[in-house]
Amino acid sequence: MVRKINWFGLVAGIVTLVMLVLSLYMPWWQLTIGQNLVKINASPVYMNFGFFGSQFTIPLIWALNVITILTFTACGLLMLIYSLAPTKPYAKQLLQFSYRKPLYTLVAFVVILVAVVLGLRYFGVSFPLNGSTTLTLPSNWTLGTTVSALVSGYFELPFWFAIAAAALCLGARIYHGHILQPLIKPEATANPTATAATESLS
């Protein structure tokens, strides 16, 4: 008998772990003000703020980053275990644990990022999500002077890996149904009414 493997899950597990390793070194989104005068590295895995060449991390955000690191590690490993044995009795539990979290994390990250950017726009400070622009501070903040700076915001490689991981996790969930289909006995799936009708016709 050929061993069943959920290939989507296998790739999803690998991509999730690769994305995690990349995220430890690169942010998902980076905002730079001036010539590296202010730098914000945004990521669910490693978030920090650079100011005058020094890096700062809020301890609570650091703890949340650790939670995300542990979650992604568990999700990646459990997705790999599930993928190699998708027909085992415990497989569905492993899949349900591991396929949702990368998607939820990605959606939460994008929602929070867009909310912050739109919120700042309400106060007259406009940051680009992806690209460069010249930011001019509202004149009532700057006592008659005009202060402007080149501001760049870019999504980095781990963000695109996160999208791929989330999509593959969803694919693994959908493909799980296709793997189980041949294992379900025809009697169990047959429509009793239709069967009876066929018999009566014959």
Binding site: G53, Q93, L94
Partner: protein, 188 residues
């Protein structure tokens, strides 16, 4: 199957509670520190509990306290024929990172708002903790030079700058006018 479900639930709880619990334990004497980086607490006069991170703030505070205004080097050179002048200044970058002084330009006006000339600098990058010579150049009328000379001797410059544009490290500041630009220290 139930055992797997229970194990995964416990894993989820441990993943969330572990880091948060550690953080609360680590900052048990200073719970505000969970929300405010220790670096900012030390800037605000409080005591951050994380000595490793607070060093970066003390670096910033030290850098700012070491900031000194540019010092004039020697005497300004002036070409009476063309009206061009040149005046070098020495500046020490107090920060731990290079500073790019990309632009400084202004219009020089006298006490009665009469235009005396203009000044600008050549762009310069000064490395962390390094000295750099900022060369101020421009064009001034002979009467402006005479006025500046007399005021320079008195120790104060009663001239003003208009339309000042400064670009440091990519941040551009436009100031409509700077009245009475103050004293100059000549180290030459």
């Amino acid at each position: 199957m139930d055992k797997v479900k229970v194990a995964l639930t416990l894993l989820s709880i441990a993943i969330v509670v572990g880091p948060l619990g550690f953080m609360v334990y680590e900052y048990r004497d200073n719970l505000l520190g969970i929300f405010i980086p220790p670096e900012f607490q030390s800037l605000l006069g409080g005591s951050g509990s994380n000595s490793q991170q607070s060093s970066s703030t003390s670096n910033i505070a030290k850098s700012l306290s070491n900031f000194q205004m540019p010092q004039a080097i020697g005497s300004p050179a002036y070409n009476t024929t063309t009206g061009a002048f040149n005046y070098p200044f020495n500046f020490t970058n107090p920060f731990d990172f290079p500073v790019a002084l990309n632009q400084f330009s202004a219009e020089v006006v006298g006490p009665n708002n009469e235009t005396l000339g203009n000044v600008a600098i050549q762009p310069i990058n000064i490395g962390a903790g390094q000295n750099g010579v900022i060369n101020v150049a421009g064009n001034l009328s002979q009467s402006a030079v005479n006025q500046l000379e007399s005021e320079f001797q008195s120790g104060n410059l009663h001239v003003s700058l208009k339309n000042v544009t400064v670009n440091v490290a990519g941040i551009t500041v436009n100031i409509p006018s700077l009245s009475n630009i103050g004293s100059l220290t000549n180290t030459g």
